[in-house]
């Protein structure tokens, strides 16, 4: 039996765990008691981190589509075919997109960017769920000047007042929920904000539910309350620019007793922390919320104060590292602007080819709209395409190259299939939301002929005219440490001797407070919303894990027609009971779903599990919520 310490492949908390392997097959997990993030505490997903690799439908040899069928091929043939096809598209000026899973290691992400912006000369490189995460960080950056999180979950656990903005933290990031719960048990005040009541809001000292579309209206009284409690006054800690404009934007805001109390806890706390977990909202609203939250953090002295965290938690494990490596259509590695000529020159020197500096399109827009598509890892599990069968959506592309560990619907459209190691079998590094760079070590051997994705990406690059190498993930990291801003000079020795390396974060010198948007006009509309931003049930690491998939699958089985939750009072008024069908009609379309009653929903709010989003697709038209008319069927 072999046991290695690695990083959990699921969410962005950054837990560490040991993986056991028997005969090279991952067979179990042990918690690491001293790991600074997890401290021995893993969620159900973490405890099954080994399982998908061992039990899933693994791809074990390269395949090529011949006469309409995928047939086995050897590596050389498969790589040559992929490279030839991509080169042909490039030379004929057709568009190529690269979609890279935010679960890939930094090294794999970097090589995916090198493949796209270097070898293929295309700016269309993206990861699913990247846009929302980047927007949330951008909102922070608007206030603090630095678009990144600060502090760690340990800081959160030791905080005495915590503001949590969430969709459902207990489901999306259980380990972060644990840090907050322990803080609450130790006496910290917890203030929750989000679109619906949750497990965390039940543990909260105070919670505020927002109306979808009017998210910042529930945060504005907290900020006004903080100002009233003396935050931002000279002598009250960090002085920030923009105070007058912020005050002016809040002039008409009424501060209730609860908001006043909550604001006072945050202002008076010695160690106030803010945690932002994914919540369903329109992209612009995500940014507005984090701007508001960063305002509040700045006013409470929580920006840059040691022990005060401001954490934006991404949905998937290496979303931060993926973004840092440049898996985005709108920035270069290190989050640098596309017109950073100095960085482009350094990258070009390292890659041996010119670096494309255009702005590309998002992952969702690549599907079906680019002539060639390279899908790296379980990228399509992250909501690309948002609804509908992946195979169908991909069929518009002329050439689809899939690098994956598992058989997936993408294979229906794949022309070249390149089998790679599962996340738990990979080598390299990942970057946590807390800015820590950590090792990923292989907890098993990829089956059959499958190889590390880094090797496949390097081989594709080589065949497309990039120079020799790299020969190992460590060589890639060496290059990253030479060229990627923020990763320069990373101490690779410390990655192995310690738990990881804290990447240097630029200091927040002076915050620039931003005015809040005017409050939305009151509305009595009934609003239907999705209850999350990600369907863990369709994540291959969940779906292929025998114990873990059960809850998700059984829920789908129990609700074959989906479900819409509403408050008992609303059901009463409509004259419907649990299980009866209702029709939801929006400006875009309609859907019929059975009702389940949920006491915790506010009157006029209806909620549909994210997993059933496709049943609501016509009503929502791509947004996470919509005003609807509800009719009894």
């Amino acid at each position: 039996m072999r046991t290695v310490l690695t990083s959990c492949p699921f969410c962005g908390c950054g837990c560490g765990l040991y993986v056991h392997a028997r005969d090279g097959i991952p067979s179990g997990v042990a918690a690491s008691q001293h790991h600074p993030v997890s401290q021995g505490r893993l969620c159900a997903r973490g405890w099954s981190a080994h399982a998908a690799a061992a039990w899933g439908p693994r791809l074990t040899r390269p395949m090529l589509r011949r006469d309409g069928e995928l047939r086995g091929a050897d590596w050389g043939e498969a790589l040559d075919t992929a490279a030839r096809g991509l080169a042909r598209l490039r030379s004929s000026g057709r568009s190529i997109g690269v979609i890279a899973s935010p679960r890939l290691t930094n090294e794999e992400s970097y090589l995916a960017v090198r493949l796209a912006r270097g070898a293929l000369g295309t700016p269309h490189i993206d990861a699913p769920l990247r846009a929302e995460f980047a927007l949330a960080l951008a909102g922070i950056g608007e206030v603090s000047g630095v678009a990144s999180s600060r502090g760690t979950l340990q800081d959160v656990e030791a905080s005495d007042a915590i503001l949590l903005v969430e969709g459902d933290l207990a489901a999306s990031h259980p380990r972060a929920a644990s840090a907050i719960t322990r803080a609450v048990a130790a006496g910290a005040k917890l203030v929750c904000c989000g679109p619906a009541a949750t497990q965390m809001s039940r543990l909260a000292t105070l919670s505020f539910t927002w109306r979808p579309g009017a998210e910042t209206d529930s945060l504005a009284p907290l900020i006004a309350g903080a100002l009233a409690a003396g935050a931002g006054e000279p002598g009250a800690g960090q002085l920030a620019a923009g105070l007058d404009a912020l005050r002016a934007s809040l002039a008409a805001i009424a501060v209730g007793d609860q908001a006043r109390a909550a604001a006072r806890w945050l202002v008076e706390a010695a160690r106030p922390s803010v945690v932002v977990a994914p919540f369903p909202a329109a992209p612009a609203a995500v940014r507005r919320v984090t701007v508001a939250v960063a305002n509040l953090a700045a006013l409470c002295g929580g920006l840059g104060r040691p022990g005060s965290a401001l954490l934006v938690l991404p949905t998937r494990s290496n979303a931060q590292g993926s973004l840092d490596m440049g898996v985005t259509p709108e920035a270069l590695p290190g989050g640098r602007p596309l017109d950073d000529g100095g960085l482009r020159d350094r990258l070009a020197a390292a890659w041996g080819t010119a670096v494309t500096a255009d702005r590309g399109v998002d992952a969702a827009d690549m599907v079906g709209q680019t002539s060639g598509l390279v899908i790296v890892g379980d990228a399509l599990a992250g909501g690309v395409p948002p609804v509908g069968p992946a195979g169908e959506a991909l069929s518009g592309s002329e050439l689809v190259v899939v690098l994956d560990a598992f058989a997936s619907p993408a294979l229906d459209a794949a022309d070249v299939v390149l089998p790679v190691a599962a996340a738990i079998e990979s080598s390299g590094t990942v970057t946590g939301a807390d800015g820590w760079l950590r090792r990923v070590r292989p907890g098993g051997d990829p089956p059959g002929e499958a190889r590390g994705a880094w090797w496949v990406l390097a081989e594709l690059g080589r065949r497309l005219g990039l120079g020799g190498g790299p020969d190992s993930p460590d060589q890639v990291l060496e290059e990253i440490a030479n060229v990627v801003p923020g990763y320069r000079g990373v101490d690779r020795g410390a990655l192995d001797t310690g738990w990881g390396v804290l990447l240097p974060a630029p200091p927040v010198d002076r915050a620039a407070l931003q005015p809040l948007p005017a409050p939305a006009s009151p509305s009595d509309d009934r609003i239907v919303m999705l209850d999350g931003v990600y369907d863990w049930g369709s994540d291959p690491l969940v779906d292929h894990a025998p114990i873990l998939c059960r809850d998700e699958r059984s829920r789908r089985k129990l609700f074959p027609r989906g479900q819409v939750a509403m408050a008992p009072g609303d059901a009463e008024a409509l004259g419907v009971r649990q299980g009866w069908l209702v029709k939801l009609v929006s400006n875009h379309g309609e859907a019929v779903l059975p009702v389940v009653l949920r006491r915790e929903l506010a009157p006029g709010r209806l909620s549909v599990p994210f997993a059933f989003r496709y049943m609501l697709a016509d009503v929502l038209a791509g947004m996470p919520s919509a005003s609807v008319r509800v009719e009894r069927v």
Partner: protein, 361 residues
């Protein structure tokens, strides 16, 4: 003599006590290594301790905080191949998967040795689990007594430590210059006897020092205690307020870790894994805390809500019904659930809530 002790080839309670010079302990471990696979506490990353097969005596830890991951993994691995199913010309062939050689679990803490004893009883009950019991019979448990309680431990409340009277094959106690080896079974006897010249009969002075160390250890338990008696009375006489489970279940995140690392938990699911040209039937760790664990084929779930599942855990572990069956509470006081719980619903916290009728987070 109970059946289970008979299965281990010896009577309950120590059969003899021996001593070995500390300077010779590596020689003994070398001897034991020649007898089979030795699983012992080893240093993991950054202060972590893990039970794993050792190759040389110097890998074995003698002073350590107990491993967060329980050594029950040796008998009940998270993925446990029970047998292989292969298609042959003559039809389907089924072959059991067994450890290749006898195994020795060295330096198990008292709580974990007690846990292994508990699991033996469970697997002997009703339908005998021959796969488990065979593996158990092939394992020799060498426990290491605990002169100092661990920070979260409350074994004292479960009669599972810090020192044991029985339930081990050999119990070692560190007396300083020498280690005392109390033999609890024929298997233990064999382990000591094959090491001729390394062990000598213990002196009365050494035995009295062991008793003194035990008394000091017992006196050293601080706040970490768990009063099962009154909780069990309340549970078994229906005097736990139902609303308590509602409140407490909000402090549970359904990670299942309390059950996965519990030395006395054994719930599992069965699934066949395709391997080569056939299948491997595997038993896998499962948890009564997971929503669909009790989901029935009809779609009915007897424990649909989290509060039902949290309640179930304590109604199993701390009820008179199971106490009468198992002869003990379903807890050895290792304190692992305190460390691994994502929320705060660990054994001592919930037992206190049941006793007092209030939950304080």
């Amino acid at each position: 003599m109970s059946d289970q002790d008979a299965a281990r080839g010896g009577s309950a309670g120590p059969r003899g006590a021996y001593a070995i010079e500390r300077s010779r302990i590596d020689d003994w471990v070398s001897t034991v290594l020649a007898l089979g696979e030795v699983i012992a506490p080893m240093a993991g990353h950054g202060g972590d301790v893990l039970y794993a097969p050792v190759e040389t005596p110097d890998q074995v830890l003698w002073e350590f905080d107990n491993s967060l991951h329980p050594p029950k993994e040796v008998l009940l691995p998270q993925t446990d191949p029970l047998f292989e199913i292969r298609g042959e010309r003559s039809g389907w062939q089924v072959a059991a998967v067994r450890p290749r050689e006898p195994r020795i679990l060295l330096n198990a803490r008292s709580c974990d040795a007690s846990g292994i004893r508990f699991l033996r009883g469970v697997h002997e009950e009703d339908l005998r689990d021959s796969a488990y019991l065979r593996r158990d019979a092939d394992l020799t448990v060498v426990s290491l007594s605990c002169p100092q309680p661990c920070s979260q431990g409350f074994c004292i409340c479960c009669d599972a430590g810090p020192f044991l009277d029985d339930g081990f094959d050999v119990q070692l106690t560190d007396l300083g210059e020498v280690l005392l080896a109390e033999v609890g079974s024929a298997k233990g006897e064999a382990l000591v006897r094959t090491s001729d010249g390394l062990f000598r009969p213990a002196s009365e002075q050494e035995l009295s020092r062991r008793r003194m160390l035990e008394a000091v250890a017992i006196d050293s338990f601080g706040e970490s205690t768990c009063h099962f008696g009154s909780a069990m009375r309340r549970i078994s006489t229906g005097r736990v307020v139902e609303a308590l489970w509602d409140t407490m279940s909000d402090w549970c995140f359904e990670c299942g870790a309390c059950t996965l690392v519990c030395p006395t938990c054994y719930c599992f699911s069965i699934k066949d894994r395709q391997s080569g040209g056939g299948w491997q039937r595997c038993r896998m760790w499962d948890s009564c805390q997971y929503g669909a664990f009790t989901l029935e084929a009809s779609g009915h779930n007897p424990r649909p809500h989290r509060k039902d599942r949290v309640k179930r855990r304590f109604y199993h572990k701390v009820s008179a019904q199971y106490y009468l069956r198992d002869g003990t509470v379903g807890c050895v006081g290792c304190g692992r659930c305190v460390t691994v719980c994502l929320g705060t619903t660990d054994m001592p916290a919930v037992v206190t809530a049941i006793r007092k009728g209030v939950w304080n987070g």
